[in-house]
Symmetry: C2
Subunit: 314 residues, 2 copies
């Protein structure tokens, strides 16, 4: 595996990954796991691609909210539509800060408006809407398409796992069907392996379509992640990777195996490579890492590049 993971610097983190894959895939190894048990789960925002200045899904729904407020001006007086119309995103940032401080009042408004944006649409209509977004959208601060905001080292890790007969899943607090539109193209992860927050769904027999209802069905974060992993796979994964407090239960769940690898991406990059350092929402995970034996990935030290090499042309 010496030529694998070219965007990872030599060091203990890369060595731990290579050693783990070798141990669980080498027949005769005491830690050998047959292919059917090789399940690896990855958080998405902040783990597989950038989540700054805001999660990508929020960029999409801001466009939807703005359009909704243009169609119904009374909405523009209410949050989060007001923020979307004015382009003043401070309210959204404050809502997230309140969430981290334990106050979900504004987050509730955001979740309700996220659900409202797709309510009544068929899954196919939503697919077309999200696909159109990804065709045109540019990252808000970096001059590139979202295809070029993926973390190149993590894509290389997924490729290495593929080559060793792992099944890789996304397990994210982001909305499932939104991520499905890019998971194959950006990461090589097929739609059936995307697990995320679920908008309520119902079958419309008259039109023979599945439609979104007006409320969230479940929020796939924290202790919900192990539950959703079990529902989807019927397995306890042997590798889990995340970057925030909400990923701790998923990392711990993987660690219930005799041999496992729990990876925590630490956004400590203070260079000018495009992903600013931050730890908000990850403090507990980083603090707990030594006690739990999480393998911490330092973006600054372990990755020789963050984004794909051709990002400037993206």
């Amino acid at each position: 595996m010496s030529e694998a993971l070219p965007s990872w610097r030599e060091g203990p983190t890369r060595a731990a990954i290579v050693e783990f894959i070798d141990a669980v895939t080498t027949e005769g190894s005491p830690d050998f796991v047959p292919p059917e048990g090789r399940v690896a789960v990855f958080d998405n925002d902040g783990t597989l691609w950038t989540e700054k200045p805001m999660v990508v899904q929020l960029h999409y729904v801001l466009q939807q909210w703005k359009a909704a407020a243009e169609a119904d001006p009374s909405l523009a007086e209410k949050q989060p539509y007001q923020a979307a119309v004015s382009g003043d995103l401070a309210w959204l940032g404050a809502a997230v800060d309140k969430h981290y401080a334990g106050d979900d009042s504004d987050l509730g408004l955001i979740i309700a408006a996220v659900s409202a944006a797709s309510a009544g649409s068929s899954v196919e209509e939503y697919e077309a809407s999200v696909a159109a977004f990804f065709r045109d959208a540019r990252h808000m601060t970096m001059d590139r398409s979202y295809a070029h905001t993926v973390y190149q080292p993590m894509v290389e890790l997924i490729r290495l796992l593929d080559a060793h007969d792992f099944r890789t899943y996304i397990v994210s607090g982001g909305e499932r069907d939104f991520m499905r539109l890019i998971a194959q193209d950006y990461y090589g992860i097929p739609t059936q392996r995307v697990v995320g927050t679920g908008l309520g769904l119902e079958y419309d027999a008259e039109h023979n379509v599945v439609r979104y209802k007006s409320a969230l069905a479940f929020f796939d974060d924290g202790p919900e992640k192990p539950v959703r992993i079990w529902m989807r796979t019927g397995r306890r994964p042997i590798l889990a990777a995340g970057n925030s407090n909400g990923d701790v239960p998923m990392l711990r769940f993987a660690q219930g195996n005799p041999r496992s690898l729990a990876l925590l991406v630490n956004h400590d990059d203070d260079t000018d490579r495009g992903d600013a350092p931050y730890s908000k929402g990850a403090e507990k995970a980083i603090e707990a890492a030594p006690a739990h034996g999480f393998t911490v990935i330092s973006v600054r030290d372990d990755w020789s590049q963050v984004f794909p090499a051709d990002s400037q042309q993206g």
Copy 2:
């Protein structure tokens, strides 16, 4: 494909299946579907294996209920525990008849008792319990293990679809994790492709396990089947197979594709091959078959054998 499907008699049903697979998997065909879109969904009870004299899961929970009533004699005075202790299964049959007549009062008692049987168990404890059941259990009227109550022609169909790069799923009203214990061994369908009714789950951080709660999370039947298929796969399947009224939405959902195959198993077998004729719970599906263009599989006419050839030794 002339040597495929050896337990299927020559005739229009077998020909329709072979022609469909050929049309969607031959490059250059106007109906060609790339491998990622080749999703096939199968109901389980009555479609892939016998459901008479009762669905197999009920055999398992009867044992659990009997054990629970022995541990707590007060339970033995209540249904469905009373039926389990006495071995008088007429009450259960009557409950199902009431369900078909639109009265789910007794079904509610059964569902509550099914949930109670696993409440508090970890998913691993439940796996061990169900695995022990399948090691020892014999079919209630036919002298064989449940491994020998699968429908051999349907297993051959799954193998043929595998050989043509389909992904086959079980989509059943039966409980998901119960079916997962046998899906690979009996049908060659892996755990991540088993969709079914879900018992409520929660993550127990202290013990690092996922546990069953005391209530059902959702019942995967009728209009819920297309919803659960979408959640699991992010696709509209191109082949669906079922045998009852509750499968009609799933068959119709598949038919929303430009080319699809909707199969309805009709239990019209009046020979002595072991699966008695019945249509209860399937009347509407059979009646609607011509209008909807379902391909009806006659157990009597289309299958040269129902169960695997070595069933008598099972």
